[in-house]
Symmetry: D2
Subunit: 137 residues, 4 copies
């Protein structure tokens, strides 16, 4: 699927609008999604900590679009794992995903969420998911 | 942690307010969270399909509070797996979680999201997570 | 697949012979595999602790045959998660698995390994896997 | 833990002797384990396919020793995920693992199993696990 079509789908989901997502990179098998920081993403207004469900969702969404960039079909998530490495604080972050394999029925993608911390880019969380694919171009 | 304190935390997160979450059950080691359906939870306004990231977040949140009901500390998710069994459609659903084990450093909780479909309750997705615990009551 | 055919496959694998596996139950969607204790399964001869890789393998194997009991095709594991709840000690144990769902491309099975401890049956570990299925009976 | 001590532990497990494991690399946070091919590792003597439980075990073992190389304590696997990308055939392979993070209670390691196929090195399976750590050097 090409970037314009994928971007249309990305922007059509109300949840993605809540998260204000857009592609900063979109290549075959590799996508990066920029996520601006907003107070709504925090666990609560008094703590400088992004909600884990949002981090997990971003990993899944990035993996999904990485697979989508290689095929021309719907790619529902079959299953998904997230590992949190460090708390995500109230700064912009990026979700990055790469396709590990596209098979005849299933694709596997790896994702990470990263964020700048004291001048360095740090990985906040890792994700890995299996996505159903019906037919591959 | 008792229900009132947990409910305060549940309601304080803007993401939970977006999802409009409340406990329908809260016992030691077992919680149920009612989720009303709203168009914002769908993949897009034209498809009768709940966003997978939202289902995953609900599983993680339910597991988190199930662990919290047994301890008196923060319980950050260490890692998490979700398996999608069936698409979730635009109806109210419930996230249910049970604690499998609380250890000295880590707790494991199982969760599921269920929804009524043609008069029957169906499991939409399964979740299992590891949660850090510092000290157990 | 019927029990006799499944038992033939179970017994044909050298790794299963190393583990000395046999079915104690085999129904459609549910299998139980009995595992006798032998010193070779321990982490080392001086510690009363079963090797985690063996526990994980048993969970995967049990899930595999639970799916196989419902279909008539090969069912390669696509991905798999194991959660260790308690150390497994040097006693016989049982691996139990149930199918959660069989779809057109993928099946999900849940498994556990249990063991008697001080007169009670305890769950040692939990497993959940996705298995490829080509065609369902 | 230094290589000699880790190698002693690696060799003391009967299951590792069954698999005939040895380190081909052992650095802080990174290990590689060489696995010679033997017929006992195959699904059955007539199929050129390594048993998935063995591949999963190797991923877990490699991750375990990668964490061990950074700490001076026991590091029991808390939970573990494996994704199979391609069937492993009857050739020698290597299990490689890297530590992603060592926290105060938990470490995360990534692992892969690779094998030469038609002159190219291919990744056969991916693993990611959480390991309990009590105290870090």
């Amino acid at each position: 699927m090409d970037e314009r079509e994928a971007e249309d789908i990305l922007r059509s989901a109300p949840f993605h609008q809540f998260l204000d997502l857009s592609f900063s990179e979109y290549e075959e098998g590799h996508v990066e999604i920029a996520v601006p920081m907003r107070e709504e993403l925090l666990v609560n207004p008094d703590r400088d900590l992004v909600h884990g469900g949002i981090v997990a969702s971003l990993l899944d969404i990035a993996g999904h679009y990485a697979v989508l960039s290689e095929v021309d079909t719907r790619v529902p998530t079959a299953d998904f794992r997230v590992d949190y490495l460090r708390p995500a604080s109230s700064k912009p972050f990026t979700a990055i995903a790469d396709v590990e394999r596209v098979g005849s029925n299933l694709a596997v993608a790896d994702a990470l969420v990263e964020q700048e911390y004291k001048g360095e880019v740090q990985t906040v969380a890792l994700g890995r998911g299996s996505y159903g694919v019906s037919h591959v171009d």
